[in-house]
C-alpha cells in the first residue's frame, strides 16, 4: 500500500514538474497574522480541523494531497511555526509539534488546561525560548461571567515541557506580534494596541507606547511597518521609532 502511495506521489511530482517549476521556496513568500488555521511550510500545508491537524503535500501545488492527520482534542484555533516547530493554540491547551519531518508532525507536548472554562482564540507567537499567547473567556452561557483574559508567557527551552512563567491581565486580547524586544497585542476590550517590553521574558513591562484603536483583531509586522486589522478596516503604522509609533495610512474607501 505504501509503495502504491509512494509511486503515486512520484507520479504526481513528475506531473507537477510538467506544469510548474517545482520551487518550494516561492511558497514561503508571505506572512499571516497570528490568528489563522492555515499555514504552509517547506512544500506542505497544515490545516487545523476542529480536532485534527491535517498535513497536505503541495508537491503538486494546485492539488494538495492529504498525507497525514494528527488527532488532538477539540478546539484547535491557531497555528504558528517557529524554528521547525508548530505551535497550536486551542481552547484548552498549547500544543507543540515537531516538524523535523514536515510530512508528519509529531506531538512534543500539550499543556494542561490552565482554567476550567473553555476559552476562545489563543494565538501564539514565539521568540527564542519563549512563547507568548493570549487567552480570553467571553461571557459564559452557564451564568459565570468570568473574564479570565490574559497574556501568558511560557518558557519553552524544553519543548517537551513548557512552563508558565507569568501571566498578565488584559481585557479581550486578540492577535499579537513582536518587533525586537517589543510585543504588540490587539486588545479589543480596551480598544487599544498594548505594547509590552519583553527584554526580560520572566518579567514583562507594560509600556505606555501603545496606541488607541477601535476593535483591533490582529496584526502583521513587516520591517518598520505594522498592519493592524480591526473589525471593519485596517491601519498601517510606522514602528521604526518605538517612542513614536505613528499611524501612516489607512484603507482606501
Amino acid at each position: 500500500m505504501k509503495k502504491i502511495l509512494l509511486t503515486y506521489l512520484c507520479f504526481l511530482w513528475l506531473l507537477a514538474g510538467c506544469f510548474e517549476k517545482a520551487n518550494f521556496a516561492v511558497s514561503e513568500g508571505g506572512k499571516s497574522g497570528s490568528v489563522t488555521r492555515f499555514t504552509t511550510y517547506q512544500g506542505y500545508m497544515y490545516v487545523l480541523n476542529l480536532n485534527e491537524v491535517q498535513t497536505y503535500s503541495l508537491v503538486n501545488p494546485s492539488k494538495p494531497l492529504l498525507v497525514h492527520t494528527l488527532s488532538t482534542d477539540y478546539g484547535l484555533e491557531t497555528i504558528n511555526i517557529y524554528d521547525n516547530t508548530i505551535f497550536l493554540g486551542s481552547t484548552t491547551s498549547l500544543y507543540i509539534l515537531d516538524i523535523t519531518d514536515p510530512a508528519a508532525p509529531a506531538l512534543l507536548s500539550k499543556t494542561d488546561r490552565l482554567f476550567e472554562l473553555s476559552r476562545r482564540c489563543d494565538p501564539v507567537v514565539v521568540k527564542e525560548n519563549y512563547a507568548y499567547s493570549t487567552i480570553k473567556t467571553i461571557e459564559n452561557i452557564c451564568g459565570s461571567i468570568s473574564s479570565i483574559s490574559a497574556l501568558i508567557v511560557y518558557d519553552i527551552s524544553d519543548k517537551t515541557q513548557p512552563i508558565v512563567l507569568n501571566t498578565y491581565d488584559l481585557e479581550i486580547p486578540n492577535g499579537l506580534g513582536y518587533k525586537d524586544n517589543y510585543l504588540f497585542i490587539c486588545d479589543e476590550g480596551s480598544d487599544y494596541l498594548e505594547v509590552f517590553d519583553i527584554s526580560d521574558p520572566a518579567q514583562l513591562v507594560k509600556t505606555s507606547l501603545g496606541v488607541p484603536i477601535l476593535d483591533p483583531i490582529d496584526l502583521i509586522i513587516d520591517g518598520n511597518r505594522m498592519f493592524v486589522a480591526t473589525k471593519t478596516d485596517f491601519q498601517i503604522f510606522d514602528v521604526s521609532d518605538m517612542n513614536n509609533i505613528r499611524r501612516i495610512g489607512k484603507i482606501d474607501r
Binding site: G30, G33, K63, F227, K250
Partner: protein
C-alpha cells in the same frame, strides 16, 4: 449519514463541554438562525469589484498585497505599496470561506466542507483549480455570540451567515 452523526456528536461534545449541568431542553426566544446557500453556489468563486470590510478575519501579507478575510464571503485584496495611498484592488468571492493562506500563485481556502485551490496569478480573474471534497468540518455555531441558535441542518446547504430570529424549540446553544 456518517457525517451527520459526526456533527451530532460534535454538537453534544460542545454542549457538555463547559456547561456540566446543561439539561437537554428546547429554547424559545430571540436567537440566531443560519442562512444557507445551495452547495452548487460554493463553486461561484470569482473576482468582483472592491467592497468595504464588514466582518474581518484572517490577514495575510504577500509582497505589496494585503489580504483580509470577509467572514463567509471572500477576501479583500489591497495594494499597500504606498502606505499613504492604499488601493482596494478587488474582492475575491469565495462563498462560506472562514480561513485561508497563500503560497506562490495559489490561494488555499476552506469552502464549507471542502478545501479549494484558487489560482490568483491574475487577481482580476481568479479561478478555482482544485477542490478536495468533504475533508473539513465547518464551524456549526455563530461566532462571537452567546445564546441560543437554530442548529445547522447540513442538508439545507452551506451556512454563509447568521441572522437574528425569533426561535421556537431551538436545540442549540453556544458554549463559550
Amino acid at each position: 449519514m456518517l457525517k451527520k452523526l459526526r456533527y451530532f456528536y460534535i454538537a453534544w461534545v460542545l454542549l457538555f463541554y463547559s456547561c456540566d449541568k446543561t439539561p437537554l431542553e428546547f429554547y424559545d426566544g430571540m436567537g440566531k438562525r443560519p442562512k444557507y446557500i445551495a452547495l452548487d453556489e460554493l463553486k461561484n468563486i470569482k473576482s468582483l469589484p472592491p467592497e468595504d470590510i464588514t466582518a474581518s478575519g484572517t490577514i495575510f501579507l504577500k509582497n505589496n498585497l494585503f489580504f483580509i478575510l470577509e467572514q463567509r464571503k471572500g477576501i479583500h485584496v489591497y495594494d499597500i505599496s504606498d502606505s499613504l495611498n492604499t488601493v482596494n484592488l478587488v474582492f475575491l468571492n469565495i462563498p462560506a470561506i472562514t480561513d485561508f493562506t497563500v503560497s506562490g500563485k495559489y490561494l488555499y481556502a476552506d469552502s464549507w466542507t471542502d478545501l479549494v485551490t484558487i489560482d490568483i496569478s491574475d487577481l482580476q480573474k481568479i479561478k478555482e483549480v482544485g477542490r478536495s471534497e468533504n475533508v473539513l468540518n465547518p464551524v456549526l455555531y455563530p461566532l462571537l455570540y452567546d445564546g441560543i441558535f437554530e442548529c445547522v441542518d447540513a442538508s439545507k446547504g452551506a451556512v454563509i451567515d447568521w441572522e437574528d430570529a425569533q426561535l421556537i424549540d431551538a436545540k442549540c446553544i453556544t458554549s463559550n
